[in-house]
C-alpha cells in the first residue's frame, strides 16, 4: 500500500445502537487521509458516538451494538479477533475536557511510549520532549516536568493530552470538540496545532462552531439525527450546500 493512504477511514453501512435506541443510522463516509475533516451537526446527533466508534472505545460501555464496517486503510477494524489495543494505538483521542492521567507531566507522555516500546531512559526522555515540543507546551513546562499534571491550566492540560496522543505515533487524531472547554486563546493554540499536525496525521474534528469548521476544515461531514446528510470538500459544502437541511444549519436555523 502506498504511503499516501495511511490513515484513511471509511465506513460502510455503519449502525450504532444504545440498547434499542439507534444513534447512528446507515452511515457511509470516506474520511480522506492527511487532511482535516470536520464533523458538524446539532447537539445530540451522534457526533461523539461516531467518532468513538473509530477507535472502538464504545465497547467499554454497556449495551452498545455496532454493525457494519469501519475500514481503516482498507482493514475492517470491527472484525473479531483483532487486538483492540493495536487499533487504538493508531487512533489518538482528544476529548472535550482534558483528562490528564494521575501522574506527572512527564509520565503522562511517557505512559503510552512505555507500553508499546522498550526503550532506554535517554531515548524515552528525547521522545517525550519531542512530543511536548510538537504540542507547543514544552516552553511553559520545561522546569516542572515532574509535577502532577492536574496542576496545569485547562489549556495546558489539553495540549498535554495532545502530546500524550501523538507520543504513540498514531495515524489518525480523533478530536471531540477539543476547544469547547477552553478560553479563546488556548482554543486558538489548539486549532493552530491541529492545522500543523494534519500534515502528518489524519485529523477528524468534531466541532460545534461552524466558524471553526470553516477556518480549519478541508473536508466536512454534516450529521443530522444520526444520518449523514451531506459530505464533501469544505468549500463545496460551505459555499454550495446541496441539501436544504444543510443550508438551514449553515444559516443557523437548526442547531
Amino acid at each position: 500500500m502506498s504511503k499516501k493512504l495511511i490513515g484513511e477511514i471509511e465506513t460502510q453501512n455503519l449502525n450504532i445502537c444504545y440498547g434499542k435506541h439507534c444513534i447512528i443510522k446507515n452511515v457511509n463516509i470516506k474520511i480522506p487521509a492527511r487532511q482535516l475533516t470536520a464533523i458538524i451537526g446539532p447537539s445530540g446527533c451522534g457526533k461523539t458516538t461516531l467518532l468513538k466508534s473509530f477507535n472502538r472505545l464504545l465497547e467499554i460501555r454497556d449495551d452498545v451494538k455496532i454493525s457494519g464496517k469501519i475500514l481503516v486503510d482498507g482493514n475492517n477494524i470491527l472484525r473479531s479477533g483483532l487486538n483492540v489495543s493495536d487499533i487504538r494505538k493508531k487512533m489518538g483521542l482528544l476529548s472535550q475536557k482534558p483528562y490528564p492521567l494521575p501522574m506527572s507531566i512527564y509520565e503522562n507522555v511517557a505512559y503510552g511510549i512505555r507500553i508499546h516500546n522498550h526503550i532506554d531512559s535517554k531515548k524515552l526522555e528525547n521522545a517525550v520532549n519531542n512530543c511536548l515540543q510538537e504540542a507547543g507546551i514544552w516552553n511553559e513546562i520545561r522546569d516542572r516536568l515532574h509535577d502532577p499534571a492536574s496542576g496545569l491550566s485547562l489549556g495546558q492540560q489539553q495540549r498535554l493530552c495532545l502530546a500524550r496522543a501523538i507520543a504513540v505515533q498514531p495515524e489518525v487524531l480523533l478530536c471531540d470538540e477539543p476547544t469547547s472547554a477552553l478560553d479563546p486563546i488556548s482554543a486558538q493554540q489548539i486549532e493552530k496545532l491541529l492545522l500543523k499536525l494534519k500534515k502528518e496525521y489524519t485529523v477528524v474534528l468534531v466541532t460545534h462552531t461552524l466558524r471553526q469548521a470553516k477556518r480549519v476544515a478541508d473536508y466536512v461531514i454534516f450529521l443530522y439525527f444520526g444520518e449523514v446528510i451531506e459530505h464533501g470538500p469544505a468549500d463545496k459544502v460551505f459555499n454550495n450546500p446541496k441539501h436544504p437541511r444543510t443550508k438551514a444549519y449553515m444559516q443557523g436555523e437548526i442547531s
Binding site: S85, K89, Y99, P102, M103, H116
Partner: protein
C-alpha cells in the same frame, strides 16, 4: 390592620425559624463534640483501669514477657500480641489481593447484569454476624484443616489454630474492602479510562497504572477499615483460634489474640482487681494500636492525595 397583623405573624414566624435553627445547630455541635472526644474518654478510662497493673509491673514486662499465668499474677502479653499480629497480618495478606481482584472484576470486567447480581450477594456477606462466621468456620474449616490441610504439610493439628482464624477473618474482611473499592473504581470518570485506552493500553494496563493510582487513597482507606475489622474481631476468632496464649510454632498451632483473650477471660477474672486491671491493659494496647494505625493511614492518605492532587 390586616396587613400589619400579617407582617407581625410573618415576623414572629421568622423569629421562630431562626430560634429553631439556632437550637438545632447548637445541639448538633454539642453532640458532635461529645462524640469526637469519646475516644479520649475511652482512653482515659482504660488508662485509669490499667493503672493498678502498670503500678505494680513494668510495662516492658507486660509487653515482652512470655509468661502468662493469671493465677500466679504473671501477665506477659508477648505471645498474645504476637498471635494478634500474625493472625491479622495473615488474614490481610489473604484478603487484600482477593478483594482487589474481585472489586476490579465487578467494577471493570463484569457485564452490567452480573454486576447487578453480585452487589446484593456482597451485602449479604457483609451482614453475616461474626458469631455466625465463627460457627461456620468451626463446622467447615476446622475439620478441613485438621483432617486435610495440616496433615498435607505433615503437621498434626486440632484445626483450632492460627491458620483457621486467619482464613475466617479474611472472609469477614472481603465484603468491606470489595464494596469500598468497587465504589471507588466506578466513580472514576469514563473519560479517564478512555484516555488510557486510546493510547493503546490494554484494560489491565489501564487498571494497573491508572485506576489503581487514581483511587489509591480510597484503596488505602478500604484496607484500613478491613484491618480494623480483622484486628478487633473477637467472637469469631475466639471460636476457632484455640485460645492458648503461646507464640505459635507453626501455621497450624493454636494461639490467642488480644480481643479474644479479653472476651474469654474477662468474665472469670473481673472480680480480681489485679487481673481485671491486667485485662484492661490488654484493651488499652488494642486501643492504642488502632489509634496508631489510623493516624498512619491518615498520613499515608494525605501523601497519596498530595502526590497527584487527587
Amino acid at each position: 390592620m390586616l396587613i400589619k397583623n400579617g407582617s407581625f405573624d410573618k415576623k414572629w414566624l421568622m423569629d421562630k425559624r431562626k430560634i429553631r435553627d439556632l437550637i438545632c445547630t447548637k445541639l448538633m455541635l454539642i453532640i458532635t463534640i461529645i462524640v469526637s472526644i469519646l475516644f479520649f474518654l475511652i482512653f482515659l478510662i482504660l488508662l485509669s483501669k490499667s493503672s493498678l497493673i502498670l503500678g505494680s509491673e513494668s510495662i516492658t514486662d507486660l509487653l515482652f514477657s512470655s509468661n502468662w499465668n493469671p493465677s500466679n499474677g504473671n501477665f506477659g502479653y508477648f505471645p498474645v500480641i504476637v498471635g494478634t499480629i500474625i493472625v491479622t497480618g495473615l488474614s490481610l495478606i489473604i484478603a487484600i489481593p482477593i478483594s482487589l481482584l474481585s472489586a476490579i472484576f465487578i467494577a471493570e470486567y463484569a457485564p452490567r447484569k452480573i454486576r447487578k447480581i453480585l452487589r446484593p450477594f456482597l451485602d449479604v456477606l457483609a451482614g453475616v454476624p461474626s458469631v455466625v462466621f465463627g460457627l461456620c468456620a468451626f463446622l467447615f474449616l476446622v475439620p478441613l484443616v485438621r483432617d486435610f490441610i495440616a496433615p498435607f504439610f505433615g503437621i498434626e493439628s486440632t484445626g483450632l489454630c492460627l491458620f483457621t482464624a486467619s482464613i475466617t477473618l479474611a472472609v469477614m474482611v472481603f465484603p468491606i474492602i470489595i464494596s469500598l473499592c468497587v465504589e471507588a473504581f466506578s466513580s472514576i470518570p469514563l473519560e479517564l479510562k478512555e484516555a488510557s485506552l486510546s493510547v493503546g493500553a490494554t484494560k489491565w494496563e489501564t487498571v494497573k497504572k491508572v485506576i489503581f493510582r487514581a483511587t489509591a487513597p480510597s484503596i488505602i482507606s478500604a484496607i484500613l477499615l478491613g484491618f480494623g475489622r480483622a484486628f478487633g474481631e473477637t467472637i469469631a476468632v475466639n471460636m476457632v483460634v484455640g485460645g492458648i496464649p503461646k507464640v505459635p510454632s507453626s501455621l497450624f498451632a493454636p494461639t490467642e489474640t488480644l480481643p479474644s483473650l479479653i472476651a474469654s477471660k474477662y468474665g472469670e477474672l473481673m472480680s480480681i482487681p489485679k487481673s481485671e486491671s491486667a485485662l484492661m491493659f490488654g484493651a488499652l494496647v488494642l486501643f492504642i494500636v488502632v489509634l496508631i494505625f489510623n493516624l498512619l493511614g491518615l498520613i499515608l492518605l494525605r501523601n497519596a492525595k498530595k502526590r497527584w492532587k487527587l
